[in-house]
């Protein structure tokens, strides 16, 4: 590092507000940012001054991002957020002190950056993890010669809280899918003594990742979570309940195949295997990539990617609760869905839904159309 940088390091106590002022960011545009944050988190305008106050008086909190058995899709998703954007996050709101994909330093210097961030911010930094952790053999995944397990445990120790991003970090994801060749597990399988926010999805929606981050940065608390550790603000409703095609489901109007008349008219994709009824995520409300579209709007059934074990749900094009060749897998899916949130119930005909879930029974389209 140059001498210049060393000198500047001494100004450690400079707050976010100081930096904004020194960069000539006007009060007005700063408040606009706070308003956007409040609106995204569905909070009342009365909260705007509180957000502004919190941001202005904080040094940028240190964030350490660890990537284990992953595909970098979660990081790519992070960069797609239209609010808060990655640029505003790393320049104005956080100090992203370790992130393989984005950081300039490599090798020993990269590891030094992680160690320095841990030491300087012990007990205060936020740890973000994407990817699962292989327990079958420490050699299945290493960074700087260190196993993923050792690096996670060492880095988690001084973390104020952990955000597990993506279905691999939250529930094991694709490496954990049957037969789980590497013994992959999730973060909360290993860490029991820290607050963990689960942000599942394959990948999670861009603004959901940054929305959870900014909530934590703004309020210093974790948002209310459901029983799977997911923030209710983004994972509180099923895709099905918020789906714009729901009225066609209620009328019994279904696409029978891709590109048929029903598909063109935007009818329900239930018969094409849509997992919307058992999937809790914000796709139907926030949509993807600045509200451009989302899987169901683009004609493809929901894969259910924010639910535990969705990879083993019995087939992406097999209708929920419809007979499949593999009864066991269907039953597992139904059960998983039921645990997931109170669930698939809303999707089914009232007269049958309870007994179907209890008995892992099959509910047919005819039942649903009753």
């Amino acid at each position: 590092m140059t001498n210049d940088f060393k000198k500047k390091k001494s100004q450690k106590e400079q707050t976010f507000g100081d930096v904004m002022r020194s960069q000539g960011v006007s009060r007005r545009s700063f408040l606009k940012f706070c308003a956007a944050t409040a609106s995204m988190m569905a909070m009342s305008p009365a909260m705007i001054p509180k957000i502004a106050h919190a941001l202005e008086n904080a040094r940028r909190p240190s964030v350490i991002w660890l990537s284990f058995q992953e595909c970098t899709g979660c990081t790519e998703s992070l960069t797609r957020a239209h609010t808060a954007t990655i640029e505003s996050l790393i320049f104005d709101h956080i100090s992203l002190d370790y992130h393989h994909t984005l950081q300039a330093a490599a090798g020993h210097a990269a590891e030094e950056a992680r160690e320095a961030a841990m030491e300087e911010n012990y007990g205060k930094y936020l740890l973000v993890v994407d990817g699962s952790i292989p327990m079958g053999n420490p050699g299945y995944s290493t960074i700087a010669g260190i196993s993923n397990y050792d690096m996670l445990m060492e880095t988690a120790k001084g973390a104020a809280a952990i955000i597990a991003v993506g279905t691999c970090a939250t529930y094991g994801g694709i490496p954990h899918a049957n037969p789980n060749p590497t013994g992959a597990v999730s973060v909360n399988d290993l860490i029991k003594d820290k607050p963990i926010i689960n942000v599942p999805g394959c990948p999670p929606i861009p603004v959901v990742i940054t929305g959870v981050l900014t909530h934590f940065l703004t309020f210093g608390t974790i948002p209310e979570l459901d029983h799977l550790g997911r923030p209710k603000v983004f994972y509180g409703q099923s895709i099905h309940d918020r789906c714009y095609r729901r009225p066609f489901y209620d009328k019994g109007l279904f696409a029978e195949t891709f590109d048929d008349e029903g598909a063109k008219k935007g009818w329900c994709l239930y018969k094409l295997g849509c997992k919307g009824p058992t999937t809790y995520n914000a796709c139907a409300t926030t949509k993807w990539n600045n509200g451009t579209s989302w899987p169901i709007e683009a004609g493809h059934p929901c894969l259910g990617c924010s639910e535990p074990d969705f990879w083993d749900g019995g087939g992406f094009y097999k209708s929920l609760s419809m007979p499949t060749e593999n009864i066991t897998q269907t039953a597992i899916y139904t059960a998983a869905g039921a645990v997931a949130a109170g669930v698939a119930i809303g999707a089914m005909n009232k007269s049958k839904k309870n007994s179907a879930i209890a008995a892992h029974d099959k509910t047919t389209i005819d039942d649903l159309e009753k």
């Binding site: 300039a104 590497t182 008219k265 493809h300």
Partner: protein, 574 residues
């Protein structure tokens, strides 16, 4: 004296890559490339519905986010001889082309640029001189003295906060950085502009595939329907959005990416004489105009070039048992069929994990034994380079006019001979030039789509073989494509409506793989062994430059595993 230096993690890439370099003084004598993460996705795919395979395969990589999905559906379609509507091919071309443009620009600015651009030096730039420099290169509107003054102020405030975040501990001030402060400030400004641009143009995938990363595909076509009279299909509003995005892509490539590449390259001409590596290049071909069975209609032709000889293009047969084979002499796998020295064609491939490396935490790998989770693919026994340089050379050698024009313009501008292509800088420049070719071609595919719709042809999906009950009892096929990082091939064996075997032969496996049994290095290794002297072994920015010139994608490159030792699938990195 000879010292072994280690760079792990190699950052600003996809995935987990480790480089060990055996030094002879300050010169690299031998280099070893190791992929250090495995998941076993090929094994996980076994026994599943082939129509579901794309979703699993796509999660091989979230950076190349659509390529494995596309290669996967093509493998199923090839196995079943499943024809798809012309519109589906056009939409797939548009999505794949968008992937190139998005991915290459992000690679240049966010993964590669900091090897050449000194962020700290930008703080001493004169905004007015920066503006003059920018305006001399391009008519990109964000180029006023005020704009650069604001950028400098933002950067200064950031540095003065004392929290350098992702820019901490880098090799700033290293004498290998040659750009004047003004060029550094311009490049850092474009780093930020590119972050903003990329999330807008990624929306092309969202329109046709519902989301990005990881857009949706379907065997037999594309999932989106076209209906100009529906609010819930590809209609005029969505088509207009696609046109806008194509314009945005072309603007940024023409006004920012191409001029920046040429300007920066002008300060680093010494990098045209190192980092060549193998001199062998391979393409599988892609971007059909008349379906995947008509190779003559491909925009990128398939072929192999050996020993820089552009006058002879060798035919490549993806299915021939003696052409493409994978070796594991230095990989943490075992073959039941043939042992450690055998090479297997992907249809017969095996993926039995056997980690024999040092117990973590470790300092060095034992490079005389196995040292990577990547296999060593070979074409007729030759190690080959795949990717942008291979494609540009193939287009150049086969007389593609625009490619010849762009390559000659670049060589003239930099005043370097044609041999300069075979280098670290040549590889990086080839990526930029092909991006320009794709950015121009996008309009052609879009126009063809409009012509079809105008003629009443709106079909996007062929339902005829959708039901597995209509399939033969057994079938096998290969789905190949040119992914941004190079030729990609997925091999599938289908039996009784399920996946019996699945193998992915991935670009980054070709490039990043370890030595084979004959001691023949992979492309990364050979490139690092070509004329690399490190100014300071503790700050090996030279290694980063050459490795990043390949745009590594390690999640793609790693194979799968089969715990029963039965073999089956391998997954690689691209």
């Amino acid at each position: 004296m000879s010292e072994r230096i280690v760079v792990d993690p190699i950052t600003r890439i996809e995935g987990h890559l480790r480089i060990e370099a055996q030094m002879d003084g300050n010169k690299i004598d031998k280099a070893y490339s190791s992929g250090t993460m495995v998941r076993g996705i090929e094994t996980i795919m076994k026994g599943r519905d082939p129509r579901d395979a794309w979703a699993f395969a796509q999660r091989i990589c979230g950076v190349c986010t659509l390529v494995h999905g596309l290669a996967s559906i093509r493998s199923v379609e090839n196995a079943l001889d499943y024809k798809i509507p012309k519109n589906a091919d056009l939409i797939r071309n548009l999505m794949s082309g968008a992937q190139y443009i998005h991915d290459h620009v992000m690679h240049f600015y966010h993964l590669h640029a900091l090897d050449w651009v000194d962020v700290v030096s930008a703080l001493s730039a004169d905004p007015k001189a920066t503006s003059e420099l920018a305006q001399s290169l391009s008519n990109y509107p964000k180029s006023s003295p005020g704009y650069f003054a604001d950028m400098k102020k933002k950067l200064k405030g950031f540095v003065e906060s004392g929290q350098l975040g992702i820019f901490a501990k880098a090799y700033w001030g290293h004498p290998a950085y040659k750009l004047p402060p003004e060029a550094n400030l311009m490049a850092v400004s474009h780093y930020l502009e590119a972050l903003s641009w990329q999330r807008d143009v990624a929306r092309l995938h969202t329109i046709f595939g519902g989301k990005n990363p990881h857009p949706n595909f379907v065997v037999g076509g594309v999932p989106c329907a076209i209906d100009l009279n529906s609010d819930s299909a590809i209609n005029m509003k969505k088509l207009s959005q696609v046109q806008d995005i194509i314009n945005q892509m072309k603007m940024f490539v023409d006004q920012v990416y191409v001029p920046d590449t040429l300007a920066i390259a002008g300060f680093y001409k010494d990098w045209t004489t190192r980092g060549e590596g193998l001199g062998n290049f391979l393409t599988f071909g892609d971007f059909p105009s008349n379906g995947m069975d008509d190779v003559s209609g491909f925009m990128i032709p398939p072929g192999a070039i050996l020993n820089r000889d552009l006058s002879t293009i060798h035919d490549v047969d993806m299915n021939a048992a003696d052409e493409i084979k994978e070796y594991i002499s230095h990989s943490w796998y075992d073959y039941e069929n043939g042992g450690k020295e055998a090479g297997l064609h992907p249809y017969d491939g095996e993926t039995n994990l056997n980690y024999t490396g040092p117990k973590p935490p470790y300092d060095h790998l034992d490079v005389d034994q196995s040292y990577s989770w990547l296999k060593s693919p070979r074409w007729k026994g030759n190690a080959m380079e795949v990717g942008p340089l291979a494609r540009v050379l193939m287009l150049y050698a086969t007389g593609h006019d625009q490619t010849k024009e762009l390559v000659n313009m670049t060589l003239n501008k930099l005043d370097v001979p044609v041999e300069a292509l075979f280098s670290t800088l040549g590889r990086t420049a080839a990526r930029t030039l092909e991006t320009k070719i794709f950015a121009d071609q996008m309009q052609g595919w879009y126009d063809d789509l409009i012509i079809n719709i105008k003629a009443g042809e709106t079909k996007t999906f062929n339902e005829v073989l959708w039901e597995p009950s209509s399939w033969p009892k057994s079938a096998k096929g290969v789905g190949f494509m040119e992914a941004p990082r190079g030729g990609l091939a997925h091999y599938i064996v289908i039996e009784d409506e399920t996946i019996k075997n699945y193998q992915a032969v991935v670009p980054s496996t070709w490039n990043a793989g370890p030595r084979d049994g004959n001691g023949q290095p992979g492309a990364y290794e050979a490139a690092l062994e070509d004329n690399h002297t490190l100014h300071d072994v503790k700050q090996p920015v030279e290694i980063l430059r050459t490795i990043h010139s390949f745009d590594p994608c390690l999640a793609c490159a790693v194979h799968l595993t089969d715990p029963d030792g039965e073999e089956i699938i391998k997954v690689k990195v691209k």
